[in-house]
């Protein structure tokens, strides 16, 4: 199953359930800082960039939250992952 959605300043948390891979796409106006709750790790994704994680040997469940370096209405971090 492919799950997908969008995080922005009003919807900045998503829980991934049994993910086998994850792609985060910053299509917004400023840099996105992504926090992984399970580890406390953060990653920065520049505007118009993306990161891809996977394929995981075992499924991956975590909650990620995002903040943006600038306060723009166009901020958007899209996520897409496989289960």
């Amino acid at each position: 199953m492919i799950k997908a959605g969008e995080l922005n300043t009003t919807n900045n948390t998503i829980t991934l359930t049994n993910a086998k891979s994850l792609n985060l796409v910053n299509s917004g106006s400023s840099e996105a800082i992504v926090l992984f709750d399970s580890s406390g790790d953060t990653i920065e994704i520049a505007r118009d960039n993306s990161i891809k994680l996977g394929a995981f040997d075992s499924s991956f469940t975590d909650t990620i939250s995002v903040s943006f370096s600038g306060n723009f209405s166009e901020n958007s971090l899209q996520y897409i992952y496989t289960q």
Binding site: M1, I2, K3, A46, D48, S50, T82
Partner: protein
Amino acid sequence: MIEARILNTNGLVSVSFNEILIVNSGGTEATLEFASSSDTFELRGKSKISLDSSTSLSDDIQVTFVDQNNPANEVQILWVDGVGPSPGIDTNFLNNNLIQDADRFHTGEGFNFFWENIREIFGDDVTSLFEQSRRSISGLGGNSNDQYKQFFELSNNSDESQSFVGVQGNNDDSAQSFMVVKKGDPNIEQTLNRVYLNSGLLQLFAQSIIGNLLNKEAFLNLDAQTGEAFLKADILRINIPSSLEVGQVLTLTNNTNKENRYQFPTPLGIFEVFDFNNPRDATQNLVDDRFYVIKRTVPAGLYENFEWWVSGLSGVGPAESCQYRVGIYGSNEILLESATVQIDQSITAGTRFQVAFSSVQRFRRPTDLFFVIGTNDYVGSFTVQSIDSRFNSSQFPTSEGYYFVQSSGPLPNDLSTVTKIVTNQCFYQKIYKI
């Protein structure tokens, strides 16, 4: 097994994959709806997503374009299904799809973008397949060999942050230059393509400005008189020296004055072609209580300082002076750095003022900056001509388009209060007085 389907209009694709790559290669934004979850994902033009899965997944993907009337709409979906034989790369796919795409993309970054996507999912091994496929290209007719060469050279330009900007020369004495904005990888070969030297010398210099001295070192010499191997070379592989530093400049010169042709794609770690012969000095005098703004697109890279060079200054008397202010603003018009310099009798033409950024400016992509200059508190009758700008003590490359913003009134002491007022587009690298 790998399959590919290119959609020119809205459509539904059934996939079964371990790896999948979805590329919106142009046109308008596409919405992907996944049947398994009913989730949607919006994929902008010139964007891509890829997913790996440890187990094979099957899904139906509905593709809908925002503007269904745009003829450039195209989403490509490529996938690898682990069920089939490994590695399972189908050369028919390459011949039927990829090579034909070369005809459409071969002149621009679009093809490079597409190629990078292909390599990302299939790995570098796919390169060998193009050697296999080369034999098939002749069937495309016309300038198919050129397509292949172009294709191959683009494949070596693997930094996504760079668009394809290359040097192409012919029978004129010319020089083209690149600025090093990050160190290249000495282990990666660059290509100098389609070298047809009838006579003369083709040289690639690494040059840097140390103080006022130009240090110039040739590391590639293609001499028609001494090297038969260099004549009529389709693809010549070279290595960019690892000693090159940020801010250095590579210059490719053709002093042959004959019918020689060459093509040099932008090397890794180097950005933007520019012309050293194009002056950046403003030729008109600054006027007190006016300030001038130009917009420049700076290459991606790290910048530690900027520098202003008073190129023309005449007749500053013992009791004459002015305050000369400069500011650099980011594309969001936030002041990045500023400096104030007193112009008086001690300042001579050619004096450089270097200002270090309080923190290194890091641009991940070409970035628009606004340069504001102006004089205040002018006393006397001398003239100040402006001004050559440099970054990291190196010449600054030309941008494609220049804008200037002009504002009446004095340049405020607090440059953070300067805001953009009027924008006009011009195509000369001049700072205009009002």
